[in-house]
């Protein structure tokens, strides 16, 4: 199967602090890949380097064979960062249309209206984003992430702060896109989500891959314990 993401000997230092020592992995087209680790283990740093926010100290990070360029992406990407927000003073529709235009949608307005209908927010289209509840704003952020049928979906702690309805909606959307052949990189602390959704995973510790493979391979290497137990065994109390 073709690799949509390739990370080769990635190293990342901020000043004298080494975040990633030497990391290599790949994400295959159409799979759901779990990037796991304790807080501060370098998961978000790796994604940000993959998307060009950081210049790696060493190695290379490729999306569909090339470094990611937002102006000319080799494949369409949907990214839901851990720190996320939209233009609070603009209307729901204006937010969706603007991002739709930037992502090259042919009819961003039509897409936005269709999406708002799906998430039952069609009556809020002309409301300023700041007037919406937290849960409603999350639905709009999710819409921005999945517009234009991305071939690679990157979700950094996507369910963090999501209410149960939005969590279910997100799972539905991930499943839907997965069926269409979208690859997903998922950063999460919920091991039940990983077991349920992911084909393969990588556990990051001290800047290197502590475990890497299919979920069953990782479990096999750890006496068939649950992923949650494996996580606790690896990271001990450092996440507290």
């Amino acid at each position: 199967m073709k690799n949509i993401v390739e990370v080769k000997n990635f190293q990342m230092k901020f000043g004298k602090k080494t975040i990633i020592k030497d990391l290599s992995f790949d994400v295959r087209a159409g799979e759901i890949f779990g990037l796991l680790g304790a807080n501060g283990s370098g998961k978000t740093t790796t994604l940000r380097a993959l998307l060009g926010f950081y210049t790696p100290t060493g190695g290379e990070l490729l999306v569909d064979g090339k470094p990611y360029d937002p102006e000319n992406p080799a494949v369409m990407i949907g990214y839901l960062p851990e720190e996320r927000g939209l233009y609070r003073k603009e209307t729901v529709l204006d937010n969706l249309v603007y991002f739709g235009e930037l992502k090259g949608l042919k009819s961003p307005r039509d897409w936005a209206l269709k999406y708002l209908k799906r998430v039952k927010l069609e009556d809020k289209q002309n409301e300023k984003l700041e007037k919406l509840s937290g849960g409603q704003q999350q639905k709009i952020q999710l819409g921005v992430t999945i517009m234009n049928d991305p071939k690679l979906l990157i979700l950094d702690e996507p369910t963090k702060g999501f209410d149960p309805m939005n969590r279910r909606l997100l799972m539905e959307i991930i499943e839907e896109l997965h069926q269409k052949g979208t690859a997903v990189i998922l950063i999460t602390h919920y091991m039940d989500e990983v077991e349920k959704l992911c084909d393969r995973a990588l556990l990051l510790k001290n800047g290197v891959a502590e475990a890497y493979g299919t979920i069953s391979e990782i479990k096999k290497q750890h006496k068939n314990k649950s992923l949650e137990q494996i996580f606790i065994d690896i990271y001990g109390g450092e996440n507290e």
Partner: protein, 396 residues
């Protein structure tokens, strides 16, 4: 222009123009700035509504008609050229020449050195009082003219080198650019700063920078602000043009219109200076937006930057002087004040060509550096949500 750059420009332009606050400030701020400039202008000698003669004023009159008694100490027998030269040599402050054909022409010529951008200099009207008091009790036509003051005083402003001065006519177009510059900075500088901070404060930057490059995002915002500035300038200029058309027969309006000098080279130079100055000043504010974590933190920098930009205005008198002092030179090349200082000196005609070239090159290089630094800083800080200002700069 790149596709994504155009989309950023369109979005930023439309969202600002939809705001009622945009239209409120677009009308109020010009009124404030015009008021401020008018006060500065009036206190700097631009308008001399009343004669300011005193015992130290050196006055002489050549009377070719014989209205004034020869024994009056200020009556001299200079020719017109001799009187004019004495003004240039500063032996005289004011020189009046009553020509032999005064009865027919009903005009007295008045010579003095121009004091900067004089619109009205009523020192010349002093001749009317002098003649009024001097005429004999037996009137003839000439005396009646002298008594009633029904004649014109032709104001011949001279430069220090003796040429006829048209400082006001030359200054009008540079001043129009200067006024437009102030409106753009005061109205849109703060807006620009806030729109950059907004991307970070509302955590938009990480989402948006996967769809558009930092360069296109920042430059797109700056271009959108400049387009909004064009609207601002039009809302200012259109009423002025309408007023000029309506009052074109008014003495002052027609007088000013007749003095305006339209020099294409000067217009191009001042336009270049204006565009580069806008880029530099907005670039400074945008840069601040990239290094401050919140709108609250950023807002404290708007005032000082604007004051730095308009600082040369407080020294209008120094800028009007034909021999610039150290302060004028310093403000001409200090990055924050350079745009205003260069525009002022261009308006007052005290900027030599080499200085103008140095100034333009300096602003162009600085603009390039500041915008590059802004893009770099935004790239670096856009996702650095934990950025903290030094303690002494934090708002309490």
């Amino acid at each position: 222009m790149s596709n994504s750059l155009l989309k950023v420009v369109k979005f930023e332009f439309i969202r600002q123009i939809k705001k009622p606050s945009f239209w409120a400030t677009i009308i109020l701020i010009p009124l404030l700035v015009v008021g401020m400039m008018a006060i500065s202008f009036m206190t700097s000698g631009g308008v001399k509504a009343n004669p300011t003669l005193d015992e130290n004023t050196k006055v002489a009159i050549t009377d070719e008609v014989g209205i004034l008694p020869k024994e009056m100490p200020i009556v001299v027998d200079y020719t017109r050229e001799e009187g004019k030269n004495k003004v240039i040599d500063k032996e005289l402050d004011l020189y009046f020449y009553i020509p032999a054909d005064f009865k027919e022409s009903k005009k007295v010529d008045f010579y003095h050195i121009s004091e900067g951008l004089e619109i009205f200099n009523n020192d010349g009207q002093a001749i009317k009082g002098i003649l009024n008091q001097a005429v004999a009790s037996e009137f003839d036509v000439v005396d009646v003219l002298a008594l009633t003051g029904q004649f014109d005083v032709v104001d011949n402003k001279l430069t220090a080198t003796g040429e006829v001065s048209n400082a006001l006519g030359k200054a009008i177009i540079p001043f129009v650019f200067l006024v437009c510059f102030f409106f753009l900075i005061t109205l849109f500088g703060g807006r620009m700063l806030m729109t950059v901070v907004e991307e970070k404060e509302n955590r938009i930057s990480e989402m948006i920078l996967t769809t558009v490059s930092t360069k296109h995002l920042i430059v797109g915002k700056i271009i959108a602000m400049m387009l909004l500035g064009v609207i601002q300038i039009l809302t200012l200029i259109i009423p002025v043009i309408v007023a000029v058309i309506i009052y074109r027969d008014n003495e002052i309006v027609s007088g000013i219109l007749s003095t305006i000098e339209i020099d294409p080279v000067s217009i191009i130079i001042n336009l270049a200076l204006f565009i580069l100055s806008v880029f530099l000043s907005i670039g400074f504010l945008t840069y601040i937006g990239t290094i401050t974590p919140t709108a609250k933190d950023a807002s404290q920098f708007i005032g000082p930057v604007i004051i730095g930009v308009v600082f040369p205005l407080y020294f209008m008198q120094s800028f009007m002087a034909t021999d610039p002092n150290f302060l004028v030179y310093f403000l001409t090349y200090f990055p924050l004040s350079a745009p205003t200082a260069l525009m002022l000196r261009s308006a007052f005609g005290t900027l030599s060509s080499p200085e103008l070239i140095i100034g333009l090159v300096e602003i162009a290089i600085l603009s390039f550096i500041v915008i590059r630094a802004t893009v770099h800083s935004f790239q670096k800080n856009a996702i650095n949500f934990g950025i903290v200002l030094p303690k002494f700069l934090r708002r309490r």
